[in-house]
């Protein structure tokens, strides 16, 4: 009897002390916390937790946001303090078009900037080597420092977080750095993330972003991480991506497991380079797909956050508390959207977004309901942003931190997802790590199997998709949106401007810089990224730079598993 009493007493002391610590952290982040009331006039607290002395598992498994197991969120205040960043991807043909649109967005209160390049840029090919029909249809054509400068005209690049969809070897970041230099903005003021830096995920699933051979990409990536830590200390060079694998068919648990296995691989590679886990791990960020499987997605994020916090401490011995923060961006899943009855997609996106928000995301992209017809057009893109604002202001999703925490269902599911995710990580460890597991096709086969399994469920009707295999509506009169393709004359102008750029630059200087890059690629002891920035400054285009690296380090041919 005494024994039990003591334990309860100890527990009480711990729980209350932790709550106080959380409160201090919360108040430091939320300077003037106004009282929040619901429509019935009831006061809504920022966080709810079990009374001390009850629920003994709480402290080990959940704890308070911003510390401990991190299950409930990575910051003490989460969305109650600062809501997530609305990071809408916009793809616009020419740098001028992008600049016009982004200025409008910033004027209307946007706080972050994302650049999505044209598919040709993703492939590492300049505009003068691509079928013109494909230019600027999905993103902005950015081949040179000049293009980047136009994209960012009148934008205070030292004061805004910049997201670059910039696959390895980070040529857009190099352009950004050269633009900053020319404007006298010092590199330590450049903040943001290389959003498409996870070359393993591109090898496995999103092949469009895959530019260099697996071993070549690995080497260049480490060079960049090392060089950026020295020269651009506030830049996040790595965003580990779970989105591509889930879009390709991985289940949510599989996608989370594979993403964490990739993060482990990158961390081990960094460690092998002699980098300090306390420093590089706090720069790791993540990017996930969020599907309509609502509770599963919430549990996926909570479980992933808990596993990461533990991995950082136990596997990599990092003591920096910031390294334990599982920072992630989420994008609503395009795979769930249907062509049939397309307005239904607005409802789907809202539910997906809710799952991501209640799962504790840091930034969010909501899909336009027309993404199943085309890259999003302006009208549907507006609805997508409005969806986020509705969830934020009308639905009150920001009022409470981890509002689903403590639910019997959600906690059980979180535990179960955690076990699934850990099993995937173990499987990859047994394969010798993620790098080996993708080299052999193990991961690709697993994802392919899951995709086939899901499709089978849809084909047999076991998984109902409204409007597709159930509740079909022949008379669905929704007009499909008109598509706005770039004007061929404007695209021609862009191609001409590249030709003019190539003519006016100092060709000897370009050639010399590319030669230095080539030599750096051939020598294991040189850092390719420094040479890449130099070549960019000298006037080399992204296509030329990637061509040199492809020559020396191998072309990015994904392993196609059938």
């Amino acid at each position: 009897m005494n024994k039990i009493d003591t334990r309860v007493l100890d527990d009480r002391v711990d729980r209350d002390a932790m709550a106080q610590e959380w409160r201090r952290g919360y108040e430091a982040q939320v300077s003037s916390d106004k009282v929040v009331r619901n429509r019935s006039g009831l006061e809504i607290r920022p966080l709810y937790w079990p009374e001390a002395g009850t629920d003994p598992e709480f402290d080990q498994k959940l704890g308070f946001p911003g510390s401990g197991p991190m299950t409930r969120g990575i910051y003490p205040s989460m969305h109650r303090g600062r809501t997530w960043t609305q990071r809408q991807l916009i793809g616009l043909g020419r740098p001028e078009d992008f600049n016009g649109r982004i200025k409008k967005i910033l004027k209307s209160g946007g706080s972050a900037l994302s650049i999505i390049p044209c598919n040709s840029v993703y492939r590492g090919i300049d505009a003068d080597e691509v079928e013109p029909e494909l230019l600027g249809t999905c993103g902005t054509i950015i081949n040179t420092v000049q293009d980047m400068d136009i994209c960012l005209a009148d934008i205070p690049i030292g004061e805004i977080s910049i997201g670059l969809n910039d696959p390895n070897p980070f040529t857009m970041l190099a352009q950004l750095l050269v633009v900053a230099e020319a404007r006298g903005v010092s590199w330590d003021r450049i903040t943001g993330t290389s959003n498409q830096s996870d070359y393993i995920s591109h090898f496995v699933a999103n092949h469009m972003f895959y530019r260099l051979s697996l071993t070549g990409a690995r080497r260049v990536q480490l060079d960049a991480i090392e060089w950026l830590a020295e020269n651009v200390p506030n830049w996040n060079p790595l965003s580990v991506v779970g989105q591509h694998t889930q879009q390709a068919g991985a289940t949510p648990a599989q996608a989370m497991g594979l993403t964490l296995a990739s993060a482990i691989q990158y961390a081990e590679d960094c460690k092998a380079r002699g980098l300090d886990p306390n420093r590089f791990l706090e720069r790791f960020t993540f990017f996930f797909d969020v599907s309509i499987s609502f509770f599963e997605e919430v549990a996926k994020f909570r479980a992933g956050r808990r596993i990461w916090a533990r991995l950082v401490e136990e596997r990599f011995g990092a003591t920096n508390p910031r390294a334990k923060r599982f920072k992630f961006h989420a994008q609503t899943s395009g795979v769930d959207l249907t062509r049939q009855q397309p307005l239904n997609n607005i409802a789907r996106v809202a539910v997906q977004a809710m799952a991501g928000i209640l799962g504790g995301l840091q930034s969010l992209h909501t899909d336009g309901y027309d993404e199943v017809f085309t890259t999003p057009t302006e009208g549907p893109a507006k609805v997508a942003i409005a969806t986020q604002n509705i969830l934020k202001h009308e639905a009150g999703l920001c009022d409470v931190i981890d509002p689903l925490g403590g639910s019997y269902y959600v906690e059980t599911l979180t535990d179960q997802m955690e076990a699934e995710i850990l099993a995937v990580i173990k499987e990859i460890d047994d394969q010798g790590g993620m790098f080996k597991a993708v080299e052999s096709g193990f991961v690709q086969r697993a994802i392919g199997d899951s995709a086939a399994h899901f499709q089978e469920a849809v084909d047999t009707g076991a998984q109902i998709i409204v409007g597709v295999n159930a509740y079909q509506d022949e008379g669905d009169g929704t007009a499909h949106p008109a598509i706005d393709r770039p004007d061929p004359a404007w695209i021609q102008k862009q191609i001409d401007s590249l030709a003019a750029y190539k003519k006016t630059r100092d060709q000897a200087r370009v050639d010399a810089a590319l030669e230095v890059l080539r030599r750096a690629a051939c020598s294991e002891s040189d850092n390719t990224y420094g040479a890449l920035v130099d070549a960019t400054r000298a006037g080399a285009t992204q296509g030329e730079i990637i061509a040199v690296l492809r020559d020396e380090l191998g072309f990015g041919r994904p392993l196609v598993v059938v």
């Binding site: 049939q340 199943v372 598509i483």
Partner: protein, 142 residues
């Protein structure tokens, strides 16, 4: 002799242009395989000339082009190239994200059918089988 079993249709499933999303093409390849067809599968980013060379060497009846990020805009060029190579009998289908007005352009260029997300498995298999028969009947050399 009992060896005149049905000869499997031969189908090239591929992607042209710049995009690399291949979930759809893999699933369709599996559908056609499971329907008893022989599927020649490639990596993405095929050039138009490569598709022509592949179709010729493999003597396919049908080409399936998967497109999710505007690469279908190149399909009219492919249709011309196939004709130019004497492969006009080969039937071409496109699957993926194709806006309505551009679907019309593709059909006009000679594409037999455009499949959209959510297309029915049985429909895909039936259409490909029928198109393979059409192709066989329209070969220039019989």
């Amino acid at each position: 002799m009992a060896l005149t079993a049905t000869i499997p249709a031969r189908v090239l499933v591929t992607k042209i242009g710049l995009d690399g999303h291949d979930r759809g093409s893999r699933i369709v390849a599996a559908y056609l395989r499971d329907a008893g067809m022989e599927v020649i599968y490639t990596e993405p980013w095929q050039k138009i000339e490569s598709v022509v060379a592949l179709a010729l060497q493999e003597d396919v009846d049908v080409i399936g082009i998967s497109s999710l990020a505007t690469d279908h805009l190149l399909v009219p060029k492919l249709m011309k190239a196939l004709d130019g190579a004497g492969l006009g009998h080969i039937r071409v289908i496109v699957g993926g994200i194709v806006p309505d007005d551009e679907e019309a352009v593709l059909l006009k260029s000679g594409v037999s059918r455009v499949f959209h997300p959510g297309a029915d498995r049985a429909d895909i298999v039936d259409v490909v089988a029928r198109l393979a028969r059409d192709a066989g009947a329209n070969r220039p050399d019989g």
